[in-house]
Amino acid sequence: MEWAAKNFDFVLELSVTHLLISLVPLVLGSVLAFALVRLTPLKLAGTIGTTFSAIYAIPSLAVFVALPAVIGTSYLGPTNVVIALSIYVAAAMFFSIRDAFSQVSKPTVFIARAQGLSPLQLFVHVELPLAIPGLIAGLRVAAASTVSMASIGAIVGVRNLGYLFLDGFQRKIPEEILTGLFAIFIIGIALDLGLWALGKVLTPWTRRSAQRV
């Protein structure tokens, strides 16, 4: 662990970049997926689903380097990586958001509507809270794969923890690679725990009913 101790500041700097380059796509991708689920007509949902599962199949490095040809961004740097990761997150979250909302029981929605809730109130007070367990579960899966996929961005010049793999391999420092693996693992676990806690905070009734039983 000598290497990690000596280069602690450097690893910390890379970790912050890594976290940012994972968090931004998670937010952007989820918002995009949510908009697509709620705003597109039912007829188009199948097409979007097929497109997303095809996109999901493409290796990330291929997306990073193919994006400049499609949208004219620069080949190196974080822009392509953030856009590509956002698309992956959107592809994964499209299905989990759709399922999370379709799992809200229909009678509950009917009762809320019969009580005179407006569509907005219905959404904010009934549908969204009841969909939260499904949304959080989807986000946890998306977060884990985004954090590990982000490291591939190092190949196109993003200074994140993936850089430790490339540099450690070239300079033959096994400790550097292990430090990278460990740091990414820690970030993944931290995000996962954070999302789990967020889910618990947002659904207090699940805790209360568990206590009563």
């Binding site: 599962s53 095809a54 999901y56 199949a57 493409i58 290796p59 990330s60 490095l61 291929a62 380097v65 193919a66 400049p68 040809a69 004219g72 080949y75 190196l76 899966v141 884990a144 794969s145 954090v147 590990s148 996929m149 490291s151 591939i152 190949i155 196109v156 993936g162 793999f165 490339l166 450690g168 391999f169 033959k172 096994p174 690679i177 292990l178 990278g180 693996l181 990414i184 693992f185 993944g188 676990i189 996962d192």
Partner: protein, 226 residues
């Protein structure tokens, strides 16, 4: 910047398809690495997954492996294995890393397939006097085939995208053109290679999804015939 025309020219130039680092050879290398790793992973993970599903023992292990595997970057795993086993054994190290990447989804698919069989059917098979092996061969495996195919589909995607990184540790595969294109600023080679990678991954995914659908349909049909 370069144009679609340049990309087309690069892809249709016969010179880029032949030789040691021609697309044809790199494609075969890519596919071979992928299929060999998937086959080894299948041989290891299917029996274990079926055994765990059948016996109900070690279920937490399956869940732990499949959730931990998502948090481990495949790139780091491959680099670490090549580094520790030595560059002269890199072929073996890369296959080992790919097998490690492929095992969790196949294991989860096999386990979930057995688990999703209705208890009535499983107990029925036992009540008819089938031995455990007969139960697996005639009931367990046929009924979980589509779930296993689904596991292979996820494993295929993960393995194909990790093989793209193999040139970084000195092996071949279609990633070669991407890595070299980045280093030499040859954007036609870079994008051309990416296009072939996209075709390989999407075609494979579609084929496996089709296979899964076919196995699914066979199941529902056999229900109707009964």
């Amino acid at each position: 910047m370069f144009s679609i025309g340049e990309l087309f020219d690069w892809l249709t130039d016969a010179e880029n398809w032949t030789g040691r680092y021609g697309l044809a050879n790199l494609f075969v290398e890519h596919l071979t690495l992928t299929l060999v790793s998937l086959a080894i992973a299948g041989l290891l993970a299917i029996p274990i997954g079926v055994a765990i599903g059948q016996s109900g023992r070690g279920e937490t292990l399956v869940i732990a492996i499949s959730s931990a595997s998502r948090a481990i970057p495949t790139m780091g795993l491959m680099f670490a294995l090549v580094m520790f086993m030595g560059v002269e054994f890199r072929q073996f190290a890369v296959v080992l890393a790919l097998v490690g990447i492929a095992i969790p989804p196949v294991l989860a698919g096999a386990y979930a397939g057995i688990k999703s069989i209705p208890i009535v059917i499983r107990e029925g098979a036992r009540a008819q006097g089938m031995t455990t092996l007969q139960q697996i061969r005639h009931v367990g495996l046929p009924l979980s085939a589509s779930s296993i195919a689904g596991g292979f589909k996820i494993a295929y995607l993960q393995v194909v995208s990790t093989v793209v990184l193999a040139p970084l540790v000195g092996l071949g595969g279609l990633g070669f053109g991407v890595i070299q294109g980045l280093a030499l600023r040859d954007f036609a080679q870079l994008t051309g290679s990416a296009v072939v990678i996209v075709l390989l991954s999407i075609t494979g995914e579609r084929l496996l999804a089709k296979a899964q659908g076919k196995l699914d349909r066979r199941l529902t049909q056999s229900k109707i015939n009964r």
